[in-house]
């Protein structure tokens, strides 16, 4: 509202508008002394808030949320794919491990069979060799025993002959009679048998 100052000079009236008062008045409208009601919503606040919210809601509905959600969905999908790949790789690795273990078991079984066969062959060969060695030892022992028996028989017969000669000479010297060869031989044999029996 403008203020005006009216001045009457004689029959004329001079009117001056007070612009400073008008400015102060308009300023007081911008800054009300009482302030707004704490309960009743002000139209200007309602309009600005509604506009701001509607803009935000529309942006969120058509731009902001779809863009973010698309990225989230893509990442979750990629993570799920990664999990699926990891599961597949794990399963393949498990199959490989099982196959490897089967191969190792097969090789181990084959190795054991070969070791067992070699062991059996070795055992048989050892027994054969042992039998051969035992046979050779037995033959040699028999031969040695025969040789020893022959030597002993020869020694014994020599001893018997010597003992017969000695006995015959002793009897001849003591009795003056020469004993018969058969008597001397029997006596020597009997005494040698008695000596061997002790």
């Amino acid at each position: 509202m403008l203020s005006a100052v009216a001045t009457q000079t004689g029959r004329s009236i001079q009117i001056e508008f007070d612009h400073f008062a008008a400015e102060a008045e308009s300023h007081s409208e911008v800054e009300p002394k009482d302030g707004p009601s704490p309960i009743v919503p002000e139209i200007k606040e309602l309009a600005w808030s509604a506009g701001a919210f509607i803009v935000f809601a529309v942006l969120m509905r058509f731009v902001l949320y779809p863009r973010l959600k698309q990225g989230m969905a893509a990442r979750y999908s990629s993570i799920r794919d990664g999990h699926a790949n990891a599961d597949a790789i794990r399963a393949a690795a498990k199959a490989d491990v099982a196959s490897y273990e089967a191969q190792v078991a097969s090789v181990k079984a084959e190795a054991n069979a070969r070791i067992e066969a070699a062991r059996r062959t070795l055992e048989e060969e050892r027994e054969v060799r042992l039998a051969e060695a035992n046979a050779r030892i037995a033959a040699r022992r028999e031969s040695a025993r025969a040789d020893a028996e022959a030597v002993r028989s020869a020694g014994l017969s020599e001893l018997e002959s010597a003992a017969g000669d000695v006995t015959e000479r002793l009897v001849e010297l003591s009795t003056g009679l020469r004993p018969t060869e058969s008597v001397v031989s029997e006596a020597v044999s009997a005494s040698m048998l008695e000596g061997a029996g002790r």
């Binding site: 911008v30 302030g35 606040e45 808030s49 919210f53 942006l59 969120m60 973010l68």
Partner: protein
Amino acid sequence: MLGLEFPVINEVVRWVDLFPTFNKIALIACEATLIGTVVFLVAGAADWRVAPTGIRNLAEIVVEFIEGLILETIGPNGLKWTPHMLSFFIFIYLCNVPGIIPVVYMPATARMAIPLFLAIIVWVIYNAVGIKHQKAGYFTHMLWPPGVPVFMKPLVGLIEFVSNILLRPFALAIRLFANMLAGHMLLVTFAILTEELVQGDSVLLKPLGILPFFMLLFITAFEVLVGFLQAYIFTILACVFIGASMASHEEHAEAH
């Protein structure tokens, strides 16, 4: 004696227009839209292939939080409402937070305009959803829940009409508005008390200024929680109302 001059509420919530029709509330509302938009634009521009960090992580946490809220209240069918509920939650939270930011010190929701507008939007949405899903049965189901005796139907119908159609949006708006205004008034109260005690003439009372100052700090910290909580409560109630509108009469009966 301490003469404490406490301003009336009108003075506390008054703010000089930055330019005609554009005041602090309008500024905060625009700033909330701007910050929310920029945060989500930056988050959306980040590389999705790598593990989210920083702003993208924050945005995804908020999205998942709201999706969890919707799944609990509406169910999987309600996930299409995620952007709308995100808008409610983020806008309200960003309008609440300036109440504790120095210089600004004004939650925009401590004025009735924003809570009322948002509550009206929720009212329109849940009624439209109810009509879309249940046709005319929406109003009969709402006014006369199952099991109401015939002679009680007029009274129950009147009560349910007043409760669901008239009072519910106002309750939603006033819950947010009153909580934020009360928090703002508490901050103002303890700030004025601290100032009066510290700058007062009485030397004996000056040290006592530390007590309201600590309360001011405590309530400021508490307002951080309240700002989040009020945004959460508004959003979850919006979800509950929409979920209730989507559920059919039979589903209501099964739930009971």
